[in-house]
Symmetry: C2
Subunit: 473 residues, 2 copies
């Protein structure tokens, strides 16, 4: 028997029929990322049912020199969970590991396995009058393990932080099959290097996340959404500081939308209405919340905050949601920007960040720079001003051949965008990660000292390079 | 010339007379840790004045195979900044590097060099109506670099987190003399491994911190300190949850003190008075604050919180500070515990943590266990209940020979304490670090997988083992 046959036989015996599939037709859906940008091949699909099986499988792979591509919900943005085309890697799905090991309502934490889907985690917490605050578009498929491996963000980062900030404890299988187990959350622990944070966001290149203890928040007792009209993004930044001072930690979200994005959304959603009568250069969506148990009069807080903002000449117009339905309608406008922009034609999208205070200047500089350099293109920026993170889309000129444009001008535009981001001291990946999509750009633009450190750490913890090859490092 | 002479000559030329001292008499104070537990020797004392000099010095050391012991304020608790007795290491003081590179009041951040003393950072922030929240006993000598290298804690961690949570950007010189420079704070950055957090808390074994960008908070507009009498530590834990729900992020501190610690303090401070009339098994010191700009009526908040606590039968008695003088008097009682306990005789002290919710049970189990095992000894626990971190002191029986007791029973008691902590899933170092003091215990009790990961990372980033040898790893 060849080495490959021996490996497949041993893996099949270890995982059983439910846990091991060698027919590519059966796992074809998991070989392409959900945006359809990357397609690969795999030796087989392994779906272990517990940490012990993952560890034994990794040891088996190590013995046979078989590389491993871990996958959660396959809803990543950068192809980080898609194998390469060699067909030599094993696709390792964590989806069968979705057990909730412990739910501690009093102390607001949950220990669950990597395959638990975010939406189910939301339901689980809500059922106990609690909340897992991180949320994003792919919540119906994104898994806890994937969210941790990519340090996922979303629209609640302003107050709650990225996934990194919500992980209290972690369990992961390392490249040698040993199990890193730090699930017990200690608020203070100074026993050396922060290995937990090293594993979070490493995109499966240093270890395979199998379980985590996550921080839960009190449920939201009440929320108000305020839609504001502003003369400029600079004014939005000033307003953000005002709101942070005024609402403190009750400020849950602060998103910015330019008028032409709002126009696109209103076209895209025929039944939707603009929250304000007039047009404004920029709009801000502000969410203010009260946690369960916190006896705070939100109306008074919002009124006071906005009155002061008007008196300070910070805003042109504002509308405060009078009902949950109105609040949801405002969020729907924000969440429809991406599909509305897609409907306008093909585009290159960028998930970028700069220092929060530099964002207004940066956006005012990059939009004309790109539109001038690429005639017929249209650039839009929108999103998480509070995090210094905007999604920057550049629409192709009307009538181009999409494939050709993406391969040519689209790629060149992205390089120019990333050059500008780096020149502004920013990041070419704010929340989506590097994966396959941005690997070359990271090598081209990353700080050589940081890249060398990463390469050394990767070499130290995965000397044979078996964990998620071709991603990130 | 010998290699050593060549090295000393080149180092002297690089740093100049102000920056290089070879006469041991001149740097003797820095060869002993402030608690006088460890004394070492050094080739020389290097005091570079900027990052470039640090980098060149490290390259010079690397060429000559000279190891380096970085030192800040020399006020660490575990001998992490004290060289060994070989006399082969270079003592590298960052104290000359105390420049404030940038103070950004609007965006509440400061970029300063490693040698800046914590007290001066407090003054600097206060001068701008801002605040750097982390504080601890050694603030008059502790430096920014040392606080970062040890991930220092203190009494404000409950709300603001350890040093780790306050570092927005970092600059450090690595073992090969390259400069890791990530001073620009990005709220979201997913470009791979979290190298910044890897360096924080690594006790100078992976790199030498030369500068940092730190997060500042709004100044405190108003504060109330509440002294509470409780029947048990379990009741204190229940009260903590009540206060967290009620005061939310305005809860600044929650410390616990047993009656006999309070008695020791009242003996030690003849002018001090007990805040409550009766004795109680346990006392809690609760601090609630309002940030500048936050329009919150603290009186109403505290009244409401404590009324509910009384009605819920959570507390036996309580006193709310009516003035800043009263608030300070209450804190003085808490801060005098350590000296008051020291005045009662020789003791072994332990900085330990377990999961917050396990702390009451743990303390109720460990005190009798230790006192029963070591007749004549007396055990006390006090401190940061909100962080699951208590300081656990075991006093020697009256009349023992101190040196002999420390070398014998004291050492054995500490090992037993650490065994119990580990059995409870806790940490043998909550906030002080490992340094020299706890290195053997970490090797004895640490998770082998985590220890192996640390050893590999250390080997990868400092293959020659030149950075702070004999500490932590």
């Amino acid at each position: 028997m060849t080495n490959k046959e021996t490996f497949l036989g041993e893996a099949a015996r270890l995982l059983g029929p439910k846990g091991f599939e060698t027919d590519p037709a059966e796992f074809a859906p998991w070989l392409t990322d959900w945006r359809g940008r990357f397609t690969g091949r795999a030796l087989a699909l392994a779906s272990p049912q517990n940490t012990r099986e993952v560890a034994e499988l990794v040891r088996l792979c190590a013995r046979h020199g078989v590389s491993i591509v871990p996958q959660g919900g396959n809803s990543g943005m950068v192809g980080g969970a898609t194998p390469d085309s060699s067909g030599n890697a094993l696709l390792l799905s964590l989806r069968r590991m979705k057990a909730v090991r412990d739910l501690d309502v009093t102390n607001r934490k949950v220990t669950c396995e990597a395959g638990l889907v975010l939406h189910n985690l939301h339901e689980l917490a809500a059922g106990q009058g609690l909340r897992f605050p991180l949320t994003l578009g792919g919540k119906g498929s994104a898994t806890v393990g994937g969210l941790i491996s990519t340090n996922a963000g979303g629209s609640q980062v302003l107050r709650h932080g990225s996934m990194r900030a919500l992980v209290l404890g972690l369990e992961a299988v390392l490249a040698d099959g040993s199990v890193f187990s730090m699930l017990t959350p200690l608020k203070k622990d100074n026993r050396g290097f922060d290995l937990k944070q090293l594993l979070i966001g490493s995109e499966g290149t240093l270890g395979i996340v199998t379980a985590a203890t996550l921080k839960l928040s009190p449920a939201i007792a009440d929320r108000k959404v305020i839609w504001v009209g502003l003369p400029s993004l600079k004014a939005a930044r000033t307003l953000l500081l005002h709101c942070q001072d005024h609402a403190g930690p009750q400020l849950e979200g602060f998103e910015v939308i330019p008028q032409h994005c709002l126009d696109s959304v209103l076209q895209y959603l025929p039944d939707a209405r603009a929250p304000l009568v007039e047009a404004h250069a920029w709009h801000a969506l502000i969410e203010v919340i009260a946690d369960a148990g916190q006896a705070t009069a939100l109306d008074a807080l919002c009124e006071g905050m906005m009155t002061a903002a008007f008196e300070g000449g910070l805003v042109e117009d504002a509308a405060i949601s009078a009902s949950e339905a109105q609040a949801e309608a405002m969020w729907l406008l924000r969440e429809s920007i991406a599909p509305a922009e897609r409907a306008k034609g093909t585009a290159v999208q960028h998930d970028i960040s700069v220092a929060v205070e530099k964002m207004p200047e940066f956006v005012e500089a990059i939009i004309p720079a790109i539109e001038a350099a690429w005639s017929g293109s249209r650039a839009v920026a929108f999103g998480h001003l509070g995090d210094g993170n905007v999604h920057f889309h550049v629409l192709a000129p009307v009538g181009v051949d999409e494939a050709a444009w993406h391969a040519g001008d689209g790629k060149a535009i992205s390089s120019q965008v990333y050059d500008l981001v780096v020149a502004w001291g920013g990041s070419i990946s704010a929340e989506h990660g590097i994966g396959q999509l941005k690997r070359d750009e990271l090598r081209r633009l990353g700080d050589p000292v940081a890249l060398a450190m990463m390469a050394r750490v990767k070499q130290a913890l995965d000397p044979a390079g078996l964990l998620n090859p071709g991603k990130l490092t």
